[in-house]
């Protein structure tokens, strides 16, 4: 992407005493994209987000948001950033509408159009007291407050926790719509399908260190495709060890191939034999994710 990043992270490090929260993290988030920030619990996603928003002091590194320093200019930055924390509370005895109006006024915004738009979309009852809401409805309050000031960048930390699957779908559609309208969204998640479904790019973090930053489609391409063929008779697997084939597995008459490129050549080679059955499968993020995290188990 040629555009100037909305959020530019360089060498971001956060230590808690001797314990490293995140280490030497570099990341760019570009305008209008939905960027997924993927990692298991404790990988450093929330620490990264909170360090970017000056809720945590950074040990080293720089974060620029809209060209401003995240810590020196944090107040100015927050005029243009919506944020949904991963874990939050509100005033339990206040009605949702009063809470949201108060928070909106704190953003310096008086237009409530977006507040009503998002709360209607999520079927949020704004006349209830916060303490009366279920976990899912509390999460909706958090989502509404993150989007209601209609800021250019929205940072979401595990946004769909507590939402039912139908509501999740509504939320994904909403994210895509917001992105199309030019909003930049940076969302952390440990749900692979969610990232795969809505994000343009993904950054994977493990033990506080960034592993990979890629477009979802290009990651899938890099992972290759899995070609499974069942032959009538036994074959010589050495014939499939050709350029573009990453892995060959033989089980009797069945052969599994991981094809990164040259699919055309591979299919031609396969077609030299009598084929009983054949399937071609694209890798999803689940498998990709497991590839990165398998190393944690030493396997």
């Amino acid at each position: 992407m040629e555009k100037e990043p909305v959020m530019k992270i360089r060498g971001l490090t956060k230590k808690y005493g001797d314990v490293i929260g995140i280490k030497d993290l570099d990341l760019d988030v570009y305008p209008g994209e939905i960027m997924g920030f993927l990692g298991p619990n404790g990988a450093g996603k929330t620490t990264t987000i909170r360090a970017c928003l000056a809720l945590l002091n950074k040990t080293a590194g720089d974060v620029n948001i809209f060209g401003l320093d995240s810590h020196k200019d944090s107040v100015e930055i927050r005029r243009n950033v919506g944020y949904l924390p991963g874990d939050f509370g509100m005033y339990p005895d206040m009605k949702v509408k009063a809470i949201l109006k108060y928070l909106l006024s704190q953003s310096g915004v008086s237009d409530t159009t977006k507040m009503y738009e998002v709360s209607n979309l999520l079927d949020l009852d704004m006349n209830k007291k916060y303490r009366e809401l279920s976990k899912g409805n509390r999460q909706k309050v958090g989502i509404v407050q993150a989007f209601m000031a209609d800021q250019d960048l929205v940072i979401l930390d595990e946004p769909t926790g507590g939402l039912d699957p139908l509501m999740q779908q509504k939320f994904y559609d909403f994210l895509r719509k917001e992105s199309k309208e030019g909003k930049t969204i940076f969302m952390s998640s440990h749900i692979l399908a969610e990232v795969e479904e809505v994000c343009d790019r993904v950054a994977i973090i493990r033990r506080g260190e960034l592993q990979v930053v890629e477009e979802i489609s290009s990651l899938q391409d890099k992972m290759g495709k899995k070609l499974e063929v069942e032959f009538r008779d036994g074959i010589d697997p050495e014939g499939f060890e050709m350029d573009g084939v990453k892995e060959v597995e033989v089980d009797g008459n069945r052969v599994s191939l991981i094809v990164v490129e040259n699919l055309d050549e591979v299919v031609k080679e396969v077609s030299k034999y009598d084929i009983m059955n054949m399937s071609l499968e694209t890798f999803n993020l689940d498998q990709l994710f497991l590839t990165y995290y398998r190393e944690d188990d030493g396997s």
């Binding site: 929330t46 909170r50 928003l53 000056a54 809720l55 945590l56 002091n57 944090s74 107040v75 100015e76 927050r78 005029r79 950033v81 919506g82 944020y83 924390p85 991963g86 874990d87 939050f88 509370g89 509100m90 005033y91 339990p92 206040m94 108060y102 928070l103 006024s105 704190q106 953003s107 310096g108 958090g142 407050q145 993150a146």
Partner: protein
């Protein structure tokens, strides 16, 4: 919106603040109402002992000498002793043959009552002669003002006179006003901050364009403003109450305001220090415990310093010493240097709280 959190805090806390305001007003107004009743009750004439004109008791050089009017036909006299005038637990300490005077060792320092009984031989009966005491009899008011614990509540001023409204309020209201208001302000100051930590509201609050400095300053100002209103309204209620008991002319409107509002910077220090503890410890239990303990400790040190001359120096460690209400009540002098000094301390402590809050991570 500038001041938005200020108004929001006030709106959110109004119930608790109003309830305490009412309590404070009842105390400030009520104490004045008690003045005539208490003074009347305590200045009653000294109750006479039965037959005290017939029995004379004198303590000298570790001996007690009792002499009494003689009774006709008395063969001997019995002398009874007790520590209460109704002789509920008396013991016989002497038996005197015909004489009407006796002297015996008296190592006891406390007040003792002696009753003299005449025993008549011919009619085989006893006659109560009279009763005397080792100490001079005083009114309850005199006894109270001479009691060692009374000194504890006079803030080191021996001229506090309970019979006058200034002295009465000095002891009965001002001496513990710090404790009443200080404990409450310490409690709400800490919880006003730690609730935001414990209920995990800070992430969302700071996703808005509000600096930590403004956030904390507005919280501080709400409490400082509340303390000012509380003290001003208390002074007004006190003035009304003084008027109703006919003491306003003696006391004066200026004295009411100056004595009450003189404590305002004292409470500003309490609020600032409680906020400092809250941002440092972030947990209600620890911060509330510490702030209440410090308020109680200051009060205890002040009282102890008033009571015991040998440890009077401990009072210099308590900020309470710098709210000299007696100077206003008894001398008509408002110590502006103390007022400004406390104000400065309060502001400095709050700046320390701000620095701490700005420097530290907000826990997730």
């Amino acid at each position: 919106m500038i001041g938005g959190s200020f108004l929001f805090e006030l709106r959110n806390k109004w119930k608790g603040l109003t309830i305490f305001l009412v309590v404070a007003l009842i105390v400030a107004g009520g104490m004045v109402q008690l003045f005539p009743v208490v003074v009347d009750a305590m200045e009653e004439d000294v109750e006479e002992l039965e037959g005290e004109d017939k029995v004379r008791v004198k303590v000298e050089n570790g001996n007690v000498t009792i002499d009494w009017d003689s009774v006709e036909n008395a063969t001997h006299y019995r002398i009874l002793e007790d520590n209460v005038s109704h002789m509920a637990t008396y013991r016989e300490v002497d038996k005197v043959e015909e004489e009407n005077r006796t002297t015996f060792e008296y190592p006891i320092e406390e007040e003792r009552y002696f009753a003299v009984i005449a025993v008549l031989e011919d009619v085989e009966k006893e006659v109560f002669v009279g009763m005397g005491s080792t100490v001079e009899r005083k009114s309850p008011m005199e006894e109270l003002m001479e009691a060692p614990y009374f000194r504890a509540f006079t803030a080191g001023r021996p001229d506090v006179d309970f019979r006058y409204i200034e002295g009465f309020l000095s002891v009965e209201l001002y001496s513990w006003w710090f404790l009443l208001v200080g404990l409450y302000l310490a409690y709400i100051s800490v919880n006003g901050i730690t609730d935001d930590y414990e209920e995990r509201r800070l992430d969302i609050l700071f996703s808005n364009p509000i600096s930590r400095r403004r956030f904390l300053t507005e919280k501080f100002l709400v409490l400082v403003f509340y303390a000012f209103v509380l003290l001003s309204v208390s002074a007004v209620v006190m003035i009304g109450s003084l008027y109703s008991v006919g003491e306003l002319q003696n006391f004066g409107v200026w004295t009411a305001f100056a004595s009450m509002l003189g404590s305002w910077p004292l409470f500003l220090v309490v609020i600032a220090f409680s906020i400092l503890l809250a941002v440092k410890f972030k947990r209600s239990r620890t911060a509330v415990g510490l702030s209440l303990m410090i308020v109680l400790m200051m009060y205890a040190l002040h009282i102890a310093g008033n009571m015991v001359d040998a440890i009077e120096w401990v009072k210099s460690f308590t900020i309470l010493t710098y709210w000299d209400y007696n100077s206003v009540l008894l001398d008509g002098v408002f110590k502006i240097e103390h007022f400004l000094g406390l104000l400065l301390v309060g502001v400095l402590v709050f700046l320390a709280a701000l620095l701490t809050f700005e420097k530290e991570d907000i826990p997730a």
